[in-house]
């Protein structure tokens, strides 16, 4: 008897000597190809307009090159392996590599509240914010007019003093009296016409002795004065009333006066490794880091391990053919998985309430579940177990069915008890199949923001440290640091997320190496 594995030897020889078969192209295939490539081109054209409008020539170049490359690749009969690899590679670049690089580049800046835009933006904001009405000045009525075409002609302000009814014409040269109302030769713009020239009107200023007349909307004007102005030579903001000067500090991205006072409006600058070093040197950050890290590991391992053990237990129990209504039980088991976890987390939080919660009421006890560290940690792990075991139950059921029954029978013949059979044969085989899932489950739970934020928000917090709570994961802890106290600090958040990424990557890499070693043993 010959083994059928691998098939007859003659068929295994690669048909290298045969001429390559003419690949048949079906009409449907051709249409699909044309449609897909057409779609690609359409997307490219659609993406090109904003790039051209925004003068992003590098981006446009990338777009054109990529599109041309893709068209060439799928229109030429050559480069068959590339046809399969390129789509995946492009998605990898867009959805994996680009976000990682973007996060990394953000980590080196002070991007965040107060430092979102460019220096020019900050200067504009400071100057605009400092325009105040000249005390005691008249509040004018305003019409916007032109001598030319309403859409393009040079604008003037027609300014009426409500007390005297006197009309004046104002432009960049100043105010001059008008003859007639409206003055001859001028067309008054309607609100619709004026609104198309909004930017010009907003920037329009009629110089006066005390400052300048500016628009307040389209129907009123006021005499105002910008108290603060940017001096490009000194690279500083100067207050024209008090004479105070705020020189630009390029390393901090802010205008800082000699007495340390800084203007609120700053700009985005490169800060080098400051965000990274802050994670180690800042007392608030460093003091609680180790405790949080340990609990994070406990939480991730506890969540993954707990759900796996319980899920596997249920799966094995329901594997037994002696049990009736197995299908019904299986459906019931999976129910928690079918419910939206966001809502369930909030429901669980309310069930743990000391006075009104279901758990205390049913058990007739008065435990402050989320108010003391140990019980809160137990509570979040319990919630995780409830939310997570159906998944483990499902995958274990699947994996168990793939283990041949002959193996269990063979262990029986060899005299092994059920536990020994499970421990020595089934579990190792299960682990080979499930370890990648366990690793990904660990990585997910290590950063399981919702599980903590929607239940305890990281609490309870010790009375003497509102920064770090008993159930804080690294991710909730850094969220509070980066977005809690001083507004959003994206740069710092990006730096810390890189640290977290490295921790998870190391743990995963080590686990995968071990899995591979395990596979070699059992295969």
């Amino acid at each position: 008897m010959t083994t059928q594995l691998g098939g007859p030897a003659t068929q295994r020889v690669l048909p290298v000597t045969e001429p390559p078969a003419e690949r048949s192209v079906t009409a449907a295939g051709l249409i699909t190809k044309v449609l897909l490539l057409g779609l690609l081109v359409a997307v490219a054209v659609w993406a090109a307009f904003p790039l051209i409008a925004g003068d992003h020539w590098v981006g446009l170049g990338v777009l054109v090159t990529t599109t041309a490359g893709l068209l060439y690749l799928y229109l030429t009969p050559r480069h068959v392996p590339a046809k399969y690899l390129v789509p995946g590679t492009i998605f990898l670049i867009i959805f994996q590599i680009f976000p990682v690089l973007y996060t990394a580049s953000t980590a080196f800046t002070n991007f965040g509240d107060g430092h979102r835009g460019s220096k020019a933006d900050a200067v504009t904001a400071i100057q605009t914010g400092s325009v105040t009405r000249v005390p005691g000045s008249t509040e004018y009525r305003l019409r916007i007019a032109t001598q030319g075409d309403p859409a393009t002609g040079a604008l003037v302000f027609l300014i009426t003093d409500p007390a005297t009814g006197q009309v004046q014409i104002g432009d960049a040269g100043g105010l001059r009296p008008a003859d007639g109302n409206p003055p001859a030769g001028y067309t008054v713009l309607t609100a619709g016409q004026a609104s198309t020239r909004s930017a010009e009107i907003t920037d329009f200023a009629v110089p006066t002795a005390a400052g300048a007349i500016r628009s307040a909307g389209l129907s009123r004007a006021y005499e105002g004065k910008a108290v603060r102005a940017y001096d490009a030579v000194a690279d500083a903001i100067k207050d024209t009333v008090t004479g105070k000067v705020w020189p630009a500090d390029e390393s901090a991205g802010a205008f800082v006066a000699a007495d340390g006072e800084r203007l609120a409006q700053g700009w985005k600058v490169n800060v080098g490794f400051a965000n990274f070093t802050r994670a180690f040197t800042d007392d608030d950050v460093a003091s609680a880091f180790l405790g949080t890290l340990i609990w994070d590991f406990v939480f991730a391992i506890g969540s993954t391990g707990g759900t796996f053990v319980f899920g596997m237990f249920c799966a094995i129990a329901l594997q037994s053919t002696r049990m009736r209504f197995r299908g019904l039980y299986r459906i019931l088991m999976v129910l928690p998985y079918a419910m939206p976890s966001f809502a369930m987390l909030l429901v669980w939080r309310d069930m743990f309430n000391t006075d009104f919660g279901l758990i205390n009421n049913v058990l007739g006890i008065h435990v402050d579940w989320l108010g003391t560290p140990i019980t809160a940690q137990f509570a979040v792990l319990l919630v995780q177990l409830w939310l997570g075991y159906p998944y483990m139950f499902l995958v274990t059921t699947g994996a168990l069915q793939a283990i041949p029954g002959e193996l269990t029978d063979a262990t029986k013949v060899d005299g092994a008890g059920p536990f020994q059979s499970f421990r020595r044969v089934k579990l190792p085989l299960l682990l080979i199949a499930l370890t990648p899932l366990l690793i990904s489950s660990f990585a997910f739970n290590f950063n399981n923001f919702n599980a903590i934020f929607l239940t305890t928000e990281g609490g309870p917090f010790p009375a003497d440290n509102p920064n770090s709570g008993a159930t804080d994961l690294l991710i909730t802890y850094t969220y509070r640091l980066a977005f809690g106290g001083s507004g959003a600090q994206y740069g710092f958040a990006a730096a810390v997320s890189i640290f977290i990424f490295m921790i998870v990557a190391v743990v995963s890499a080590v686990s995968f190496r071990r899995t591979r070693a395990q596979e070699e043993v059992y295969s």
Binding site: E22, V25, L30, K33, V34, G38, L39, V41, A42, V45, W46, F49, L75, D113, G114, R116, A125, T128, G129, T132, E139, T190, A191, S195, T196, S198, I201, T202, S215, A216, G217, L218, S219, R220, Y222, A264, Q265, G266, D283, D284, D350, N353, T354, D355, F356, L370, G371, E457, F461, P462, A463, D464, N465, P466, N467, G484, G485, S486, G487, A488
Partner: protein, 416 residues
């Protein structure tokens, strides 16, 4: 094979041309209104409720002025969404939001000041006008106010308590008689709630920020950690779980109103947003000011002001200024927004008008007559969490002095 490739290529080119034509067509349509018809476009962002209320007025404004007005509802994270979109150049011209955003919006250069005439200013309630004033500059036009008050079940507690001590005595008696299970419904939760705790904190002598020379808040003078704040937290502790049991961490934002409407407590500290639920429950209720401690200061709640902002990076700022300064300041709009959600209008004329039809409104306004504007300075962001957690800790029985010291340390580290 060459012929087939050529065919595919030709077909693709056809598709390309077709797609390009489509793309062009679409772009023409988008560019059309800008180029041909002489009308500008005003884009307004607001939350879901207000978007619906604003719609008819925005349309009216559009018709009167011959412009297109678009209203977009932003359901969540309005401030962050606005900031991010502004930065990218895809933000609105007018933004509707709470006044305590101002500090952060200004430091990000996201909003422009508005120049109101003296007449317009005099039509706005002084507290509301003060709230939108930041660095001596008016940064928006207020249209509605809100503040905390004490809602009581008049069947259980007929008389409004004059002091917190009175309230606790009444509540304890009702509890002893098994008529209620809680003395007071004042939400805290496990992590505290600085906004709801503030009236008591202020009454017991605490403050958050001192007053600067220009009348605004002075971030350098932090009140948390000072003598008064420690005394105030002592008093909160005395009301807490280890004391009177009037303040409890188990009463959270999720169950405070429900516990009151379920008649499990006679007193609820909440705002105008709670009135709808209370009415629905069919309770007999009355609204009064949050009482202070006996012999203490007044229990001043925070005044929150809903505001129209002119976005700095809007595409149509002149029109936005016209809408915000000269249109939002008319009482008709304020009344319509009141109808959408019953909060006291910030315009005096509008408030007088709706007061007559809604007796609760006058009571809310009365409860908030001494309310102080919620600080809008960016430094306020540093207060919320540490203050709340300190509150939760002392309610749970922690030592007031060390707790306040830790909170003060955290806050001042973040303010810098």
């Amino acid at each position: 094979m060459r012929i087939r490739t050529a065919g595919v290529f030709a077909a693709s080119m056809l598709c390309l041309v077709g797609a390009a034509a489509c793309g062009d067509g679409k772009d023409d349509k988008a560019a059309g209104p800008k180029a041909s018809a002489a009308t500008g476009e005003l884009v307004i962002w607001a939350d879901d409720k207000r978007s619906a209320a604003l719609k008819p007025f925005a349309d009216k404004f559009g018709q009167e002025n011959g412009v297109t007005v678009k209203i977009q509802a932003i359901s969540k994270d309005q401030q962050t969404t606005f900031l991010t979109a502004s930065q990218q150049g895809s933000g609105p011209d007018v933004m509707v939001g709470a006044h305590d955003w101002i500090g952060n919006l200004v430091q990000n250069g996201a909003v422009d000041p508005v120049q109101l005439s003296d007449e317009q200013k005099s039509g706005i309630q002084p507290g509301a006008l003060k709230a939108v004033t930041f660095n001596s500059q008016t940064y928006g036009v207020p249209y509605a106010t809100e503040n905390l008050g004490l809602i009581r079940n008049t069947e259980l507690a007929p008389a409004a308590p004059a002091t917190i001590e009175d309230l606790v005595a009444t509540g304890k008696k009702l509890k002893a008689d098994k008529k209620v299970s809680e003395i007071l419904c004042l939400q805290s939760g496990q992590n505290g709630d600085a906004y709801h705790a503030y009236p008591l904190y202020a009454s017991a002598g605490g403050y958050l920020f001192g007053t600067a020379a220009d009348g605004g808040y002075d971030a350098k003078d932090l009140g948390v950690g000072k003598e008064g704040s420690i005394a105030a937290f002592e008093k909160l502790r005395a009301l807490g779980e280890k004391g009177d049991g009037a303040l409890k961490r188990s009463i959270s934002p999720d169950n405070a109103i429900a516990t009151f409407t379920g008649k499990k407590c006679a007193f609820l500290v909440s705002g105008p947003w709670a009135t709808a639920d209370v009415k629905k429950a069919g309770l007999k209720y009355d609204i009064s000011a949050v009482p202070g401690f006996k012999g203490g200061k007044e229990a001043t709640p925070f005044l929150g002001v809903q505001t129209f902002y002119v976005a700095s990076k809007g595409k149509n700022k002149a029109l936005a200024q016209e809408f915000v300064t000269n249109y939002v300041t008319t009482p008709e709009l304020a009344v319509a927004l009141y109808d959408a959600e019953p909060r006291p209008p910030a315009l005096t004329a509008a408030l007088e008008q709706v007061k007559a039809q809604d007796p609760d409104l006058a009571k809310w306004a009365e409860a908030g007559k001494n309310a102080i504007p919620l600080p809008a300075i960016p430094e306020m962001a540093a207060i919320w969490e540490p203050f709340g957690k300190a509150e939760a800790a002392v309610i749970g029985g922690a030592d007031a002095k060390t707790t306040v010291a830790a909170a003060a340390k955290t806050i001042s580290a973040q303010i810098k």
